[in-house]
């Protein structure tokens, strides 16, 4: 596709349920990031994938959060047993480079609301 695609665009769930958020990066981009955007918190780094290397999971807030990237392309962020504080916009981004100097292309995000 022309850009980074995220689905769903909106997700409303009940506390305690599991949710899966999907990201389709730009074709050929080797790096993929997940960020969380909350009011007053800016963009919080969650996890980073680069090619076939082990992902950098240092930003995941708890063991309820996990992510995978299949075939070096599509990524899924899973939140288990959702809590109200998980409500936020989850952003995915991809880039072509490997050295941290490349422009990130962001998706439109998934607005997650936990009731």
């Amino acid at each position: 596709g022309a850009g980074v695609s995220q689905s769903p665009s909106n997700k409303v769930t009940e506390k305690g349920k599991d949710v899966e958020l999907r990201c389709d990066p730009i074709s050929g981009h080797t790096a993929l990031y997940w960020y969380r955007q909350s009011l007053g918190q800016g963009l919080e780094f969650l996890i980073y994938f680069q090619g076939n290397s082990a992902p950098d999971k240092s930003g995941l807030p708890s063991d309820r959060f996990s992510a995978e990237r299949t075939g070096g392309s599509v990524s899924t962020l899973t939140i288990q047993r959702t809590q109200q504080e998980d409500s936020a916009v989850y952003l995915c981004a991809s880039s072509f480079g490997t050295g941290g100097d490349e422009k990130l292309f962001f998706g439109s995000g998934t607005q997650l609301s936990v009731l």
């Binding site: 007053g40 240092s58 490997t98 941290g100 100097d101 990130l104 962001f106």
Partner: protein
């Protein structure tokens, strides 16, 4: 580990006035620095970046930023703002050789007539 501080959560300014959005970073190694902008109801997009060389970098829409290594700052400036510049601006840093990009908490620029 690197970190970014944007002290101003909101900056109100009148149209055609100059503006400076402040960004300070913390890192023990060489860094790359970025400014991203998020217009209302739109995704984030790159405004400008500093990788090396000239410390003054120019970006889209008339914005520029200056890298100051001694003050560990990368402030964003525009000499004359427009209503259409109303947006949230995020400063970000990555350490050379590493892909992880860390963002600040953002500064909301509000331009009024």
């Amino acid at each position: 580990a690197q970190s970014v501080t944007q002290l101003d959560s909101q900056v109100p300014v009148f149209e055609e006035a100059p503006v400076e959005l402040r960004c300070n970073y913390s890192s023990s190694v060489s860094v790359y620095l970025f400014w991203y902008v998020q217009y209302p109801n739109q995704g984030l997009q790159l405004l400008l970046k500093y990788l090396s060389g000239s410390t003054l970098v120019k970006g889209i829409n008339g914005f520029e930023a200056e890298f100051n290594k001694s003050q560990t700052s990368f402030h964003l400036r525009k000499p004359s703002v427009h209503i259409s510049d109303t947006a949230e601006y995020f400063c970000a840093v990555s350490e050379k050789g590493f892909q992880k990009l860390v963002f600040g908490t953002g500064t909301r620029l509000l331009v009024s007539p």
